[in-house]
């Protein structure tokens, strides 16, 4: 496998009257060709902004990418001019958002919305583009696809609209698909349909996926590797198996223990993380998780811990990784 995307020390801040919101503050990760990488974390931790930064779609002002590199197939996207960037978007990188209605144009037919970008990026003529659009809709499981091309977005159900979004995002055979909470607004049985479709078409085209979600079940089912974010930073990275079975950061551990599990005997009480996430304008000094952390020591008050090795391709930003991990392993024995 080759490296497709390499994000280095990305920093995206919002300059608001209340102060500087450090939404993404020194984020580094990579995506390998054809793999599925998940970004998880609580709302407001910077998942969407980090993805929008890769696509250079951050609202400016108030937002600004203030530092870092986004190397896509070796080229720094942050150095491209707007014209070159437009060619990357929708062509080499596709994107799917949570609410398809906001990203579909309500007054254009589905057919027109799909053919437009293919005529632009793939230089197809109208009839060839229409034929391909119908094929794509069929590929994502829309019944009677050719006949649905003249329909408008409101004539599709929520699940069907998300299929259309996948078809559109895949229309130019992108190397990377960024899916930001693609199924959060959908019911579980529809969620299952959509994620299966997304995974299947990505596999068929060797497209890598970055899936952003707060659903730990979705991550476990679909991701090869996981970035856990907290307050604008990645605080743990590793294979899905490492993250779930061998967490080294207290926030990851807290997330795993907060969710009730359908497949295990019911617990009397859940084990939540106390407190709530910090304000990104006024981050506490030292580690931003410290105010909620059961493992905090003196050092955590003053020094933000860098990512420390926790295993092969597995890192965690905590001064007490060993203690955290031992505590998790111990609790699993009891369960």
């Amino acid at each position: 496998m080759a490296t497709l995307l390499e994000v280095k020390d990305l920093r995206t801040h919002f300059f608001t009257p209340e102060g500087v919101v450090k939404s993404v503050d020194g984020v580094s990760y990579d995506v390998q060709e054809g793999e599925t990488l998940a970004i998880v974390g609580e709302s407001g931790c910077g998942k969407s902004v980090s993805a929008l930064s890769v696509m250079r779609l951050v609202a400016t002002p108030p937002g600004k990418i203030v530092g870092g590199q986004v190397l896509f197939e070796g080229q720094d996207l942050l150095k491209l001019d707007e014209d070159e960037m437009r060619k990357v978007r929708g062509n080499r990188i596709g994107m799917i958002f949570q609410e398809p209605m906001t990203s579909l144009n309500p007054v254009l037919t589905i057919g027109r919305q799909m053919t437009e970008s293919m005529e632009l990026h793939l230089k197809l003529n109208k009839s060839a583009a229409e034929k391909r659009a119908a094929e794509l809709l069929a590929m994502v499981g829309i019944p009677d696809a050719a006949r649905r091309l003249p329909d408008y977005p409101h004539q599709f159900s929520g699940g069907m609209r998300q299929r259309v979004m996948i078809a559109m995002a895949m229309s130019c055979n992108p190397k990377l698909l960024i899916a930001d909470e693609p199924t959060t607004a959908l019911d579980v049985t529809i969620q299952a349909q959509i994620l299966e479709v997304m995974q299947r078409v990505a596999k068929e085209n060797n497209t890598a996926i970055i899936i952003i979600t707060h659903n730990l079940g979705v991550v476990a089912r679909y991701a090869n590797r996981v970035n856990v974010m907290y307050a604008g930073r990645i605080i743990e990275r590793g294979s899905a198996k490492d993250i779930y079975k061998n967490p080294h950061h207290p926030y990851t551990l807290g997330l795993l223990k907060s969710v009730p599990r359908l497949d295990l005997p019911k617990k009397e009480k859940l084990d939540p993380i106390e407190g709530f996430p910090p304000d990104l304008i006024a981050l506490p000094p030292g580690c931003s998780f410290r105010p909620r952390c059961k493992f905090a020591v003196e050092k955590c008050m003053t020094e933000f811990p860098p990512l420390q090795a926790a295993g092969q391709g597995h890192t965690a930003a905590c001064w007490e990784t060993q203690k955290v991990n031992a505590s998790f392993v111990q609790s699993q024995k009891g369960a």
């Binding site: 609580e42 709302s43 159900s157 699940g159 069907m160 019911d187 579980v188 049985t189 529809i190 969620q191 299952a192 349909q193 299966e196 707060h214 659903n215 730990l216 079940g217 979705v218 991550v219 476990a220 089912r221 991701a223 899905a240 198996k241 779930y244 079975k245 807290g254 997330l255 795993l256 907060s258 969710v259 009730p260 599990r261 359908l262 497949d263 019911k266 617990k267 009480k269 859940l270 084990d271 939540p272 993380i273 106390e274 709530f276 996430p277």
Partner: protein, 338 residues
Amino acid sequence: MTQVQRAPQPQQKGEDILVDVKNLKMYFPVMQGIMVQRKIADIKAVDDVTFYIKRGETLGLVGESGCGKTTTGRCILQLYRPTSGSVVFDGQDLMSMNAQQLRTMRRRMQIIFQDPYSSLNPRMTAGNIVGEPLVVHKLVKSKQEYRDKVAELLTTVGLNPYMADRFPHEFSGGQRQRIGVARAIATRPEFIMCDEAVSALDVSIQAQIINLLQDLQDQFNLTYLFIAHDLSVVRHISDRIAVMYLGHVVEIADRNELYANPLHPYTKALLSAVPIPDPIVEAQRERIILQGDVPSPLRPPSGCVFHTRCPIMIEECKGGVPPLREVAPNHWAACIRV
């Protein structure tokens, strides 16, 4: 079409039933016309639903959006006047009560809503949001008693009494939901409908609120109707669970029984669609992926409403609505194939 007789659910002698719902129907008329409005159809939001909730227990109500969960709950509280059926609360028939009588009853029944952002009045302080029901139901006699009660309520839900003067936007999502909980328990209700009360919260905060709801239940002997679409959460908090599909209850059983031994094909599909937060378990799991979308409640399928998506459908399923049958002790399913 054959009308199938529905067997009423038996109630063991001596059991304390707080909420008793029988053959509940809630049809919303669809009107058309500019000068004269004519009814052209009915949305059958709730179509012949029967269940009970024992005092002190939690009944989970699950099913996909639009299946009628909220409408069922609102019918119990008589916020909608049901089309037909009966709703009995603590032995009293709510359907025959007038507005004045219902106002008195409402002190005993409260709701916690999903969205802690839009369900709280942004111009009221947290203290007044929590205290308002005390005034409405005339439960306090003096300013001082009011302040003391509000402080006590805030403490009960894990907020600091000094936060009473703050406005909703000054709180985090989880804290706002605590305010909603404090308001709901202000009148010392016996019954609370939790309508997706934790669905909008992040998992770590969700766990805090679930624990709070369980603590309050123990403390005040509360009875919950817990509506949610997250099956893992519902299983954690409920004693019994009812599964709805397109206005019908298709299965109802004890929590453990429902998850260990689901009978209705819809329940099975629903459970298998929930991803488990464990990559090793997930890699080995069998999945039932349902085809298609939920049909419109304006034109529900004939016979069993699930037959259009059912993996084990046979011709007879298109015939009559399958009755809810007691297939195993206390385990009811509406399917002719089980």
